[in-house]
């Protein structure tokens, strides 16, 4: 709880501490990552369906918002909400097709989703502007750029809080437990009465809606859309990297991951910016996480702390005799107790006799 308050305070104080608009805009980018990877972890974290295609949902949110503003003339934030709803609606058929398959096939489908949307948005130039891109009008045309960043920083922070809240609510709920059961063994979950498909679809739609909100808000902030960058596998993969790095099973995992990766990407770029080595560094980071912290940073820290405590016993610490006693006691009959030692001692003798014969 204290952590939550501290975190919130830190996030909210950041804009006043940021020394210049650039840092502030970097903060916006990181928050956007945090929103997206948290949204991703609704699906990836709870159900274990790894989607590399969430970049596409964000892109749809962005384009949806932009088109509603430019073509339908809706006010920016109305357009954002409508776009998120539309994407959520669109997520129903997408989820319907994609969630029929599991595991690696789902990964492939999600990749295919990005690629096909890229092709469509590139080719359908009359609507989307194609490779010329699409310009999103500013929601607050009068704001100076630094102010613009500040406003959007808070908007993103709000959206993040909303996503985290939703995540937390699901995590502790029976719905969440059902989703986790799906992650562990889908058929078994179904056999226990969980409507697995409906669960998956619902959480996919929720995830899509949040992702679209993130993407749409980004579009409003950023102003220029280009299919190549909106529908990129790389974006989707960064989201996975962040969530994974932080720990998909933790509320703040994706947020922590976004902080680390966001700052890391920036750092690599500054360090190795004029060569492709920044890609190498990103690849190494991802590989290290997968190999050594497959559950993420937060759980890794947790287990490091846990290792300092004495090891937990996995073996049952009750003998059959004790179990029998419990059973008898439970049945209400007087426990026909016989000293266990007696058995043990006879056992010892017999064991010896076996060894002699051997």
């Amino acid at each position: 709880m204290v952590a939550v308050v501290l975190l919130a305070a830190a996030v909210l104080a950041f804009p006043s501490l940021a020394p210049n608009p650039y840092i502030l805009s970097a903060g916006v980018v990181v928050l956007n990552y945090a929103v997206l990877s948290t949204s991703w972890s609704f699906v990836g974290g709870f159900t274990g369906y790894i989607s590399l295609g969430h970049g596409a949902l964000a892109g749809l949110g962005g384009y949806g918002t932009a088109l509603l503003v430019t073509k339908a003339g809706l006010p920016s934030f109305v357009a954002l909400a409508v776009a998120a709803l539309l994407v959520a609606a669109l997520a129903v058929p997408i989820g319907f097709a994609a969630l029929r398959v599991r595991g690696a096939s789902f990964v492939i489908v999600s990749i295919a989703l990005v690629l096909i949307l890229l092709l469509v948005f590139q080719s359908w130039a009359s609507l989307t502007g194609g490779s010329r891109g699409l310009v999103v009008p500013r929601p607050f045309p009068d704001l100076l750029r630094p102010e613009h960043h500040r406003v959007f920083y808070y908007l993103f922070a709000g959206l993040l809080a909303l996503a985290l809240l939703a995540w937390w609510m699901i995590d502790r709920s029976r719905f969440g437990l059902g989703l986790k059961a799906i992650r562990e063994d889908e058929d078994k979950a179904e056999a226990l009465g969980t409507p697995t498909f409906a669960y998956k679809l619902v959480v996919f739609v929720v995830s899509a809606a949040f992702t679209a909100l993130g993407g749409g808000l980004y579009a409003l902030w950023f102003g220029d859309l280009d299919p190549v960058f909106q529908f990129s596998i790389l974006t989707g993969s960064y989201l996975v990297l962040m969530a994974l790095l932080g720990g998909v099973r933790n509320l703040f995992g994706p947020l922590v991951g976004a902080l680390v990766v966001g700052i890391g990407l920036e750092y690599f770029k500054v360090e190795f910016g004029d060569t492709q080595l920044h890609l190498v560094a990103t690849g190494l980071l991802l590989a290290l996480v997968v190999l050594f912290m497959p559950d993420g940073v937060l759980p890794a820290i947790g287990s490091l702390l846990g290792r300092m405590r004495p090891a937990q016993n996995s073996i049952r610490e009750v003998t059959a005799a004790e179990l029998r006693d419990q059973r008898v006691a439970a049945a209400g009959a007087p426990a026909a107790r016989e000293p266990v030692d007696a058995v043990a001692s006879t056992a010892g003798e017999r064991a010896q006799s076996t060894e002699e014969r051997a």
């Binding site: 210049n20 608009p21 650039y22 840092i23 310009v135 750029r145 220029d224 770029k269 910016g273 004029d274």
Partner: protein, 382 residues
């Protein structure tokens, strides 16, 4: 704002910020642009700098990514507090970058945003430092074709353009004019930038038996398309490709079967403008080979900015930028690509020359005033 970036101060260098695609899809032309800027800074400094201050470049890599390019200019202007900014490479990156500059009120002269969309965004601070926008590159060729006697004039044309505002713009500029002049379009193909297999496109063009083929291409796709056409033994009467044929490696790449291939260019090392002679000479000394178009465009950008700074007498963020913008808008600048002036959208008011491979060498054939040799038509077999 804080003066830690070093505006004012007579001895402080003038810091010019730029973000370039040094890695990623546009890295090759990006590097060319970088060399052009570096040559400009060096040549300028060797002559004593601007306003008596040294020029210092601050170059960031945007990885050919629009998100990054914005972050970069954000950093340059907001954090590094540079005195001036100049533009990146590629239309896709110019627009978002220009918006940042615009919103911070900076003058934004750029070497690469040639597509007409750039000038439809309502930017007030943007100027394209080259003779013509993409759609006008082929203007001289269009005139030439349409002026041919009707029995010789090509009847049909095939167009293949990369899905990129610049490349497509060049081909479509020509297409529009030829169609208006009665040359029928028989193939109109657009391919994504990452296309590597041109077999099918070439097959379509070959099957159409078009009299002329026009490629709205960048370097490598142009080469691939030509090779694929050659594999199919297609022999048009006229073949024009943007960008690719002017590349020094072009002839080797297509097995020296270059004869008669046409290409528009905004720059030639042999141009007689005074600053150009100096540029070619010093550039060659600095980098060991003569400059290409990308380098020249970057250099031109520098020249435009330098002219404005010298004329206005200041170089820092704030009020000064307004004056710089005002000056560029109302003046003509002598550059390595000739005198440049702009309309109110920042679009230059010139045209490109047309070059052709003749006798194993690429030479200027149009306009008549600048030609080094006569245009060969119909084109010999390749």
């Amino acid at each position: 704002g804080g003066d830690d970036g070093g505006s004012a101060g007579a001895d402080d260098p003038i810091v010019v910020g730029v973000s370039l695609p040094l890695t990623g899809d546009f890295s090759e032309p990006g590097k060319g642009v970088q060399r052009g800027y570096e040559a400009w800074a060096k040549i300028t400094n060797d002559k004593g700098g601007l306003l008596g201050r040294k020029v210092e470049l601050k170059i960031l890599d945007d990885q050919s990514n629009a998100d990054r390019v914005v972050a970069d200019y954000e950093q340059l202007i907001g954090k590094d507090n540079v005195d001036l900014v100049v533009g990146p490479f590629s239309t896709r990156l110019v627009v978002p970058a220009a918006r940042v500059a615009e919103e911070y009120g900076m003058l934004f002269v750029e070497p690469a945003g040639a597509a007409k969309e750039v000038f439809e965004q309502g930017f007030k601070n943007l100027f394209y430092a080259a003779p013509a926008v993409a759609n006008d590159h082929y203007n001289h060729l269009a005139e030439y074709v349409l002026a041919l006697p009707s029995d010789q004039r090509p009847k049909t044309a095939a167009y293949a353009a990369m899905d990129d505002p610049f490349a497509q713009g060049t081909a479509y500029g020509l297409k529009e004019k030829l169609e208006a002049g009665g040359v029928r379009t028989v193939v109109d193909e657009v391919y994504p930038p990452n296309t590597t297999d041109f077999g099918s496109i070439a097959a379509k063009i070959a099957a159409s038996k078009a009299d002329m083929v026009v490629g709205g291409s960048q370097y490598q796709d142009g080469v691939n398309l030509i090779v694929a056409l050659q594999q199919l033994k297609y022999q048009p009467k006229l073949a024009a490709f943007s960008t690719a044929p002017t590349n020094p490696e072009f002839a080797a790449a297509i097995g020296n079967k270059t004869e008669g291939i046409l290409s528009p260019t905004g720059y030639t090392q042999d141009a007689k403008y005074p600053s150009n002679t100096e540029f070619v000479e010093k550039y060659a000394a600095q980098f060991g080979s003569p400059p290409e178009e990308d380098e020249a465009n970057a250099y031109t950008t520098g020249q435009v900015v330098a002219a404005a700074v010298t004329a206005v007498g200041c170089a820092e963020q704030g009020e000064c930028q307004k004056k710089l913008v005002e000056w560029v808008r109302t003046n003509t600048v002598e550059t390595v690509v000739g005198p440049l002036s702009w309309d109110e959208t920042g679009k230059p008011k010139g045209a490109h020359m047309i070059q052709q491979w003749v006798g194993g060498k690429i030479q200027i054939v149009l306009p008549a005033a600048a030609k080094e040799t006569d245009l060969v038509y119909p084109k010999p077999a390749w």
